[in-house]
Amino acid sequence: MRFKIPFVFLTFALSFPALAFAPTPIQPGKSIANVALGMPDTTGIQELTKKLGSKPTLTGKDTEYEGQIVYYFFFGTKNKENNSYPLQVYSDVKHHIFIFEVNTPEFKTPEGIHVGSSEAELLKAYGKQLKKIQRGSIYLKYTLGGRKGTDFYVRNKKITQILIRDY
């Protein structure tokens, strides 16, 4: 038991080292780990690889985003529960990054908001700047900014996903 915790930590740290040590900054509507929306995907992914300490585990093209051809770069290990990777980056047909999809608590905004933060913390951090969009009984998101903005998806009063996007 004494060796179990360091072993688990080491396993995680080796698989995704940068994320294990320091929270990575999110600039809402702009960037993640200083890689900005609009940046060419080759440069952006190289930068992210350096900062996160690991290459994308899955890349490809032609996903199902809005019916357009896009390129995707998924970092980390797939979470079977929510069927997503810790960080998913998408670039458009011109290879410019237009979405960072964050599904892990390791990335935080300057206000300390991250996946797993409560809805109350989110509202406290951004207040009236947020626009609430509710669809049905489950789908709830708060949007910050306009076309170039950030979406915070909330389920059971917790943030489950942060989307930094330009579309």
């Binding site: 996903t63 199902e64 985003y65 809005e66 019916g67 529960e81 929510n82 069927n83 669809r135 049905g136 009984s137 489950i138 789908y139 389920r155």
Partner: protein, 276 residues
């Protein structure tokens, strides 16, 4: 179930109080899907009932109902000979004014609704004194394939089960992704299946839907209402076009709905009803 529906319907109307002015609690406007007492007089049903169906959002309670089944009565001391004036305003236009006594009931006449949202105000006055006022929001939808049907609202990730014009159930769902959208239109639920391996994407049950033209030949559309092995996807655009439901919900629905129940799938409805 009919009794339950009627009870729900009456109960919903009884709970109109959120918008009512509490001026004289002895008298209130009520509406029933059938007359409560046989001796009540049917005053006006001169024309054919409207060939529409609508949903009625009543404070926090809801029903979906065919307007033709609605009776209105004024409850109160039946011995009183006081005359009240009942007026109905639809979208700020007076469509009905009627003298009525306590204990009397009448059948709501046909009222032409506009497509979409309609505001109906029922007002009860005694000379100049306002006794009670109720405000209802009515939604006129163009499609009502039968008295019992399934209605899917893609935008709100909601599936409604309407039985005999009364909303019985609301379930949250997942719909198709943008590249593989859930088709809209009228379908027929033609086959129920219990899935042998519930850990697959189909979940525990599958209700196959057919287009109307293909149903006689049982040529399946490829789409279904089914369960899931990924409950986190409910409330999102996640499927390949099918309507995904929680396993317990699809099990319940499959036991509720008969074969050949129409399934109407719409992009967006002008209302959303919380889960019942």
């Amino acid at each position: 179930m009919k009794r339950l529906g009627l009870a729900l319907f009456c109960w919903s109307f009884l709970n109109l109080s959120a918008l009512a002015l509490p001026l004289k609690p002895d008298y209130e406007i009520q509406a029933f899907s059938t007359p409560l007492q046989k001796q009540e007089t049917q005053i006006s049903l001169s024309e054919q009932p409207p060939n529409v169906w609508l949903s009625v959002a009543l404070a926090n309670h809801q029903v979906i109902s065919n307007l033709k089944g609605v009776w209105i009565s004024v409850l109160g001391e039946k011995t009183s000979s006081e005359n009240f004036e009942l007026s109905l305003m639809l979208n700020q236009k007076t469509v009905l004014q009627k003298k009525i006594k306590a204990g009397e009931a009448f059948f709501l006449p046909a009222i032409a609704l506009e497509t979409g949202s309609n505001e109906l105000i029922l007002k009860l006055q005694n000379k100049e004194t306002l006794i009670n006022q109720q405000k209802l929001t009515l939604y006129h939808l163009s499609e009502r394939p039968a008295a019992t049907f399934v209605l899917v609202d893609k935008y709100n990730f909601a599936l409604y089960y309407v039985q005999n014009d009364i909303l019985e159930k609301t379930y949250p769902i997942a719909t198709g992704r943008p590249r593989t959208p859930t088709p809209t239109g009228l379908f027929i639920m033609g086959k129920k299946e219990i899935m042998p391996y519930p850990n697959t994407g189909w979940g525990v049950r599958r209700l196959l839907i057919y287009t109307k033209s293909a149903y006689p030949s049982r040529h399946w559309s490829g789409y279904a209402l089914h369960g899931t092995n990924n409950p986190n996807s409910i409330g999102t655009e996640a499927s390949h076009g099918c309507v995904r439901m929680f396993n317990q919900d699809v099990t319940e629905l499959s036991e509720l709905i008969p074969i050949e129940t129409p399934v109407v799938i719409r992009e967006k409805l002008p209302f959303y009803f919380e889960k019942t």
